[in-house]
C-alpha cells in the first residue's frame, strides 16, 4: 500500500516507505524485525517512536543508519534521505552520511565511550572524521561542543569516561552526535538508564540543542510521558509494525488503537490518587518467531473480534487530521 501523497510532502528530510527487515540467525528460523514500516520526518521536526521491547523501534533506527548486524537484512522498502536512497549507497558514502548528516545516540552511555581514550579526544575524532580541520582547530571545536553539552570543558576535556557520572557520559555522547551539525539525530532511549533528575536535564539539553541547530530528532522511547512532552508527532509500534501515527497531542488525548490507549493508561500520573491498581495490558510482549496469523496485538486486546485473528488489519488513514491507525476496531475515527 503506497502512502497517500498529501500526508508526505516532498520536503521530507527522511522518508521511510514500507521498510521490511528480517533477521536470519544462523540456525535458520526467520524472525520478523520490521514489517512495512513507513514514516516521514520534516526538517527540524521532533518525531517520537513509542514502543516496547520487541516492537522493532531499535531495528528501525539501525536500519535507517545502516548499522544493522550481519544477521539482519532489508527485504523490502526504501529509505530516502535528502533525496538520496540510503539503501543503495556504498559503505564509504554511508560513512560520510553517518555523523555528518544522520547521527545516532544510544541508550547506554557507559559502553558507548572508549574507556582508554579521553572524552575530549573521542569528540575530536568525530570532528576529524568529517572535516579536514587541523588538529588545533578540531580540538577547539570539540571543546566548544563539550561546553555546549553542559560540561565544564576545562575540567572535562581531558577526563576519562570512568571519571564521569552517567549523566555526564551521556552529555559526551550527545556532544559526539551533534558536533558535526547533522540534519537528523536518532536517539534510541537516551535516558532509560538514568535517574529522573538527570533524565530531565539530558532531555532539556537535547531539546535546546536540536531547536537551536534546527536538527530533526527521531526520539525512540518506551516511556509515553517522555514522548508526549517533547515530540510534535508520534508513531506507535508493536511487533514490527506501525499501529498508530499522528500529532502527539492528538494521539495522547484521543488514542485510536487499543494498544496505545492501554499503554497511556498504564503509566501512572501523579496527583491522580494514592495507592491504587493501575490499568494494565494483560499478557506479555509478542513472540516474533512464530508466524502470526492476523493482528499481532489480538491476544492481549480488550476490543478484539472475530476478524482480528484471521487477517492482518489494514491501515486506515485520516488525511485531514494526519493520523493513521492499523486496526479493525479502531476506537472511533472521525469519518466513521
Amino acid at each position: 500500500m503506497s502512502p497517500p501523497a498529501p500526508l508526505y510532502n516532498d520536503d521530507a528530510l527522511l522518508r521511510v516507505s514500507d521498510l521490511t527487515v528480517t533477521y536470519r540467525p544462523e540456525h535458520g528460523i526467520l524472525v520478523r524485525g520490521l514489517c512495512q514500516v513507513s514514516l516521514a520526518i520534516r526538517p527540524g521536526e521532533i518525531v517520537g517512536v513509542l514502543g516496547e521491547s520487541g516492537s522493532g523501534k531499535s531495528t528501525m533506527a539501525l536500519a535507517v543508519s545502516r548499522l544493522l548486524p550481519a544477521a539482519a537484512e532489508v527485504s523490502g522498502g526504501s529509505v530516502w534521505f535528502q533525496g538520496v536512497n540510503l539503501l543503495a549507497l556504498s559503505e564509504r558514502a554511508m560513512e560520510r552520511v553517518r555523523g555528518g548528516r544522520i547521527s545516532f545516540l544510544g541508550q547506554d552511555p557507559t559502553s558507548a565511550l572508549n574507556p582508554v581514550l579521553r572524552v575530549g579526544e573521542q569528540v575530536r575524532q568525530v570532528v576529524r572524521a568529517h572535516s579536514d580541520e587541523s588538529a588545533k582547530r578540531s580540538r577547539e571545536t570539540a571543546r566548544h561542543m563539550l561546553q555546549q553539552a553542559g560540561l565544564d570543558e576545562a575540567r572535562h576535556y581531558n577526563a576519562y569516561p570512568h571519571q564521569l557520572s552517567g549523566g555526564q557520559r551521556q552529555r559526551v555522547a550527545i556532544a559526539q552526535a551533534l558536533v558535526c551539525s547533522p540534519s537528523l539525530l536518532i536517539a534510541d532511549e537516551p535516558t532509560s538508564l538514568l535517574d529522573p533528575i538527570t533524565e530531565a536535564g539530558i532531555m532539556d539539553l537535547l531539546q535546546r540543542l536540536v531547536c537551536e541547530a534546527k536538527t530533526a530528532l527521531l526520539l525512540i522511547s518506551h516511556d509515553p510521558e517522555l514522548v508526549r512532552r517533547l515530540t510534535a508527532r508520534t508513531l506507535v509500534m508493536y511487533a514490527g509494525r506501525v499501529v498508530e501515527a499522528g500529532p502527539t497531542a492528538q494521539v495522547c488525548a484521543f488514542p485510536l488503537h487499543p494498544y496505545t490507549s492501554g499503554l497511556l493508561r498504564s503509566r501512572p500520573h501523579l496527583g491522580l490518587g494514592g495507592k491504587r491498581e493501575l490499568p494494565s495490558i494483560p499478557g506479555g510482549p509478542p513472540d516474533l518467531v512464530r508466524q502470526h496469523v492476523g493482528c499481532a496485538f489480538e491476544p492481549r486486546c480488550q476490543q478484539r473480534a472475530g476478524e482480528c485473528s484471521l487477517n492482518d488489519p489494514p491501515e486506515i488513514v485520516d488525511v485531514e487530521a494526519e493520523r493513521t491507525v492499523r486496526c479493525f476496531q479502531e476506537l472511533g475515527l472521525r469519518d466513521e
Binding site: D152, R171, D223, K275, L278, P285
Partner: protein, 289 residues
Amino acid sequence: MWRRSAPCDASRNWDYGMSESLLEVRELRKTYVKPRMFGTGGAEVVALRGVNVSIARGHTLAVVGESGSGKSTLARCVVQLEPATWGQVWFAGVELTRLPWRQLRSFRSRIQLVLQGASAAINPAFRSWEVVAEPLQILKRGTGAEQKSAALECMRQVGLPLDLAERLPHQLSGGQLQRLVIARALVLQPELLVLDEPFTGLDVSIQAQIANLLLALQRERSLTYLLIGHGLPMVSALADEIAVMQGGRIVERGAAGSVLATPRQGYTQCLVSVAFGGAAARPSAEGSR
C-alpha cells in the same frame, strides 16, 4: 513556587508505636573503606549517615533518591546482607543487628530481598521452578516433591503459566523474570519484602502489571514492603509512606499523599516537579549531573 526550608531531619518527627511497626531502623550508619595497596586505612566512603525509618505491618514504605544516595546500601543492611557500622535494625520486636549468625537464620525466611532484574539474581543454569525452589533447598525444608509443588504454587500466584516451569531463565522475558524473582522471594512465606528497584529496565506496560501483582500479593498475604526506587510515578501507586534519601540521609519523609502534594525539601521538590513534567528545577552547577 515551592517554599524552600532548611533541611530538617524529618525522621525524628515520625512516631510509630513499637507494637505496630514490623521493621524499625535506628541511626543506621555504614561506611565503606576502600583498601589501599600499601599500609592500612584508605579512602572512606560514607554510604549511610544515621538513617531512621519504620514500617507498620501491611504498609509500604518507598525510598527514593538518586544513584549514590545510599538506597541500595540501606536495603542490604536491613536484610542483614552486610553488617552496619553503627545502629540497630529491629524486626518484630527483635534486634537483628545483635543476633549471632545462627539465630539470624530463622529470621532470614521472614525477610526476603527482591533484586532488580534477573541477570544478577538468578543462576542461569537452573530451570525456572528450581530457581523458585532454591531457598527451600538451602534451608532444607520439605522433601523434593514438596519443594517442587510449593515452587509451582508460588509461580502460579505470581501469574507465571505452568508451561514456563521447565524453561531456562534466558528463555523468559524481562517481565517474566521479575515475576520469577518475586515468586522465589515468596516461597518461604516472608512477612517483609525488600524490593530493590523492581521496575527499572521493564517496559511500561509490564511495570503496571508487576505493580498490580505486588498490590494483590500484599492484600492476600498481608505483606509489608520496603520499596527502593528511582522515580516517583511508579511508587506513587504503591506507597503508603515515602522517604527521600540524599547523601546517605533521609531528607524528607511522610505519608505519600502529603509528600507528593507539598514537598518541603529542595531535592524532593525537584523530583516532584520533574515527575510532573517541569524542567529540572535544581540549581546544580552545569555539568555536575
